[in-house]
């Protein structure tokens, strides 16, 4: 049984998805069946991940606990699943954020089982992607992880849904196809499936090598909010109001970032690595553009999206730096970052729900009547932009100092983008807390429920512990 732990991390949510999809469709199904399944699946997964943490050596950086499964004998293809501290940390962050989402799931599932089913499907596939240790299974999970979001956009999208869906599918499918081509060339060059960490040792002809690596990077870029692929994600974030769908949409870029992390800098061929500055320029251009747009944009959700974009791209620049020492810092940052985004998204959704219920024209001053929501939003926005109580603070500090070390101009532009996006969030926070704008109707406003509030405070405690010791939960 202990040899199948990683497989279980992938399978448990998928089995949960089958349960939720086939649950009896009654009025109370959400509370009685689906809701319980989601929460228990996530709790089981988190426990499993913590147990796996206790089995591995956290001082080592390479992939450990490799599991091998036979799949196709005719090609032949064996699946390799493996975990390192970085991937486990991300897995823990993702599963934890969906557990937080699980506690609020009841409010946002409307009358459909689609959302919890897609959520569990997404978690299972994302877990598989993070644990994949060979090129074929890496591709399979990479391509499959977009399926739940396609389903959710088609169901929860509002205006321009069709256009968004077409663009999202187009970018993602082209990306996936390019990745498949690259991976099959790699597979053919060795006449077999190869582990991810040895992908750079292949001896390919120059033109083929260029094709393979460019395909890989275009595939990863297609999942990130990076020019010229940024359109789909900004459209999703400005039209999808459901917080769980918002989180899923915001975790898709993590798929691209993780792809870069797995192949760069150790695995990528030297002839391709020289193009890293080009990626840096594109990242900076996108970051500044989105940060500036967020300043003038009136929607809070767009500002959160701008924040996530800028930070994802900072991590990408960190990955592209000619050093492998930042990997763990990026991992620690991402762990906090995913949790912060989740709490921000859910708190904002609660506020938006109240706005809709009370038929308010503007959100200005609404936090004056919502003390719990106000505390959560303030603390998590401050934590997001650099309050020194979470690991985001000092890990970002290290990443940015490395960027400065590498190129001063690049560092200044990164700081500028961070400043602009931080300013946009603080401006919005100020408006939400502005007493002079609070209309009298706000006396009927319902504050964040106590359960949710305590869950969010619990998240803050987790982040606080991680500030002092990132892997404090490993014994």
């Amino acid at each position: 049984m202990s040899e199948m732990l990683l497989l279980l991390v992938v399978l448990i949510p998928l089995i949960g998805a089958i349960f939720t999809a086939t649950a009896k469709h009654t009025q109370n199904y959400a509370t009685n069946n689906v809701y319980n399944v989601v929460v228990w699946v996530l709790l089981a997964n988190i426990s499993l991940i913590l147990y796996i943490f206790s089995l591995i050596d956290t001082s080592k950086t390479g992939i450990q606990l490799v599991e091998k499964y036979n799949w196709l004998e005719i090609l032949p293809i064996d699946f390799l699943l493996g975990a390192d501290v970085f991937s486990l940390l991300l897995l823990l962050g993702i599963n934890l954020s969906f557990l937080i989402a699980g506690f609020s799931l009841k409010k946002y599932t409307d009358d459909s089982k689609l959302l919890p089913t897609s959520e569990l499907l997404f978690i299972g596939l994302l877990n598989g992607y993070m644990l994949a240790s060979d090129i074929i299974s890496f591709y399979i999970f990479f391509a499959a992880v977009s399926i739940p979001l396609i389903v959710l956009i088609s169901n929860y999208g509002k205006q321009y849904k069709k256009n968004i869906l077409v663009r999202f599918s187009l970018y993602n499918l082209i990306g996936a196809l390019l990745l498949l081509c690259a991976i099959i060339i790699m597979y053919n060059s060795k006449s077999g499936n190869i582990p991810l960490n040895t992908a750079g040792n292949l001896h390919l002809r120059k033109t083929v090598e260029y094709f393979v690596w460019m395909s890989l990077f275009i595939a990863f870029m297609s999942r990130m909010p990076i020019w010229p692929f940024h359109y789909w994600i900004s459209s999703i974030n400005s039209t999808l109001r459901n917080p769980i769908v918002f989180i899923i949409g915001n975790l898709i870029p993590l798929v691209g970032l993780y792809g870069f992390m797995r192949f760069w800098p150790n695995t990528v061929a030297e002839s391709i690595a020289i193009y890293a500055p080009l990626f840096d320029v594109i990242c900076i251009f996108t970051m500044l553009f989105i940060a500036l747009v967020s300043l003038s944009h009136k929607e809070f959700r767009y500002k959160i999206f701008a924040y996530t974009t800028v930070y994802y791209l900072i991590y990408l620049i960190g990955v592209l730096l000619p050093t492998s020492g930042l990997k763990m810092n990026i991992g620690y940052s991402l762990f906090s970052y995913v949790i912060i985004i989740t709490v921000l998204s859910f708190t904002l959704s609660h506020i938006e729900k109240e706005q809709k219920r009370l038929d308010l024209y503007s959100l200005k001053g609404i936090l004056c009547r919502m003390p719990r929501a106000s505390i959560c939003l303030s603390l998590f926005i401050l934590a997001g932009i650099g309050l020194p109580v979470t690991p985001l603070f000092w890990n970002n500090f290290i990443i940015i100092s490395e960027i400065f070390n590498y190129n001063l101009t690049l560092g200044i532009l990164v700081i500028l983008a961070m400043f602009l996006v931080g300013l946009a969030l603080l401006e919005e926070l100020y408006l939400l807390k502005d007493k002079s704008s609070a209309p009298h109707i706000l006396s009927e406003t319902k504050d964040l429920p106590e359960t949710e509030f305590f869950v969010y405070v619990g998240c803050l405690i987790i982040l606080f512990f991680s500030f002092f010791k990132p892997l404090w939960f490993v014994f």
Binding site: H25, I74, D111, S112, I140, A143, V151, N155, L180
Partner: protein, 403 residues
């Protein structure tokens, strides 16, 4: 004689099935349930016979059963069974008995058995002719008496013209060697492969199949078959017919291909690429779901032809895998059409799908899974075909992968 009867049990069961349906019709026992039960029973007997006597043949000189034919016949029988099951609800909702449809379906299955097991060009040609006639009558099933008249006429006109090519080819080969069994054909081509007339003869055979399959640029009938016909007929044309045609076509290719590989490779490559392009563009320009699937078939058949153009056994195996996963995916999509009913009318437009997730979540789930499989997304079956196709293409012709 006794052995002959036993060996031909699958075919005899289907003939009895047709007679049984005819008897029910004559005795005015007109009920969809009766027709379906009778057709189902005889189809199962036929399938059982095919499984038990999988390597026994009717007339070994003209027919040959082996593992290859057994595989195709079994899959086709299973899909026909599914068709029988689901079409009943359609006929019941339209207050029709569907007697003609079920008789034609059993006849088509019988003919497909003969077609697949044939080892003689004469049998192949005659069963091809019979197939055209059966399909013509399938297309004529139209309760509005308007819609499919033009389609069925066009179908029989075009295919009869193409059948002439097959007839001429047969006449030429027969006049030359007096024997048209596949074994003799092989020897004949080997000796006369440089003769342009012999090549033209076999081109006629191949063009007949390409037309029948609707491969571009012979795709004039691609939309007509499934776009205008009633749902159970469209289902038959989309699932059962292509499977049978590919089964026979691949078999013919295994005989002819080795001798004309350089020319066939190039022709298949061009036709395959054309089908892929026309299929992809055509599907995007339609809103009727049946027509979209018709063009999607054109695209997928193009892929299969590209695989066949490689001419090696592993490519043929991948082509088979691709076809099977494609047919399974498409069958799933077609099954959902039987649920798309509003005010007694079966919907066929893309707009009919809006809000389906709310009203029929399971139908939508099946449709989504089928569509994702058709797109080749992992971890669904269609991915196996896609990975196999790209793997084969990258191994041989890297440029083709872009389609």
């Amino acid at each position: 004689m006794q052995q002959l009867l036993i060996n031909s049990l699958p075919e005899i069961a289907l003939i009895i099935g047709v007679l049984h349906l005819l008897f029910l019709y004559i005795t005015a026992n007109e009920s969809t349930r009766n027709y379906v039960s009778a057709a189902r029973f005889w189809l199962l007997i036929s399938l059982l016979g095919s499984i038990i006597f999988y390597d026994k043949s009717l007339y070994p000189g003209y027919f040959q059963n082996n593992a290859y034919t057994f595989l195709w016949i079994t899959i086709i029988d299973i899909l026909t069974y599914v068709l029988l099951e689901v079409s009943a609800s359609w006929f019941l909702s339209q207050s029709k008995t569907g007697c003609r449809y079920y008789m034609l379906l059993l006849l088509a299955t019988l003919n497909i058995n003969i077609w697949l097991t044939a080892t003689d060009l004469l049998v192949l040609g005659l069963s091809g002719l019979l197939m055209i006639i059966i399909n013509y009558y399938f297309l004529k099933i139209d309760y509005d008496k308007q819609q499919t008249q033009s389609s069925s006429l066009l179908y029989i006109k075009v295919l009869m013209m193409v059948f002439l090519l097959l007839g001429i080819s047969y006449a030429y080969i027969y006049s030359w060697m007096g024997n048209t069994s596949y074994g003799a054909l092989k020897e004949f081509i080997e000796i006369n492969q440089s003769n342009p007339l012999v090549f033209a003869t076999f081109t006629g055979v191949i063009v007949f199949f390409l037309c029948f399959l609707g491969i571009a640029p012979f795709h004039i009938l691609a939309e007509e078959k499934t776009g205008k016909s009633i749902l159970p007929v469209a289902h038959y044309f989309a699932i059962v017919m292509p499977l049978a045609l590919w089964g026979v076509f691949i078999k013919i290719n295994l005989i002819i291909f080795p001798f004309y590989a350089p020319i066939i490779t190039k022709s298949y490559l061009i036709f395959g690429l054309l089908s892929v392009i026309f299929g992809a563009i055509g599907a995007n320009a339609r809103i009727n779901l049946h027509r979209i699937y018709a063009y999607s078939s054109l695209y997928h058949f193009g892929i299969i032809l590209l695989l066949l153009s490689l001419g090696n056994m592993s490519a043929i195996f991948i082509a088979y895998l691709y076809l099977l996963t494609y047919i399974l995916g498409l069958n799933g999509a077609y099954l959902t059409f039987y649920s798309l009913k509003s005010h007694g009318e079966y919907m066929s437009s893309v707009t009919a799908l809006s809000g389906l997730a709310k009203t029929r979540p399971y139908t939508m789930g099946v449709l989504l899974i089928s569509l994702f499989s058709l797109m080749g997304l992992p971890p669904l079956a269609g991915f196996l075909g896609q990975i196999g196709f790209i793997h084969e293409m990258l191994n041989t012709t890297p440029a083709c992968v872009w389609c």
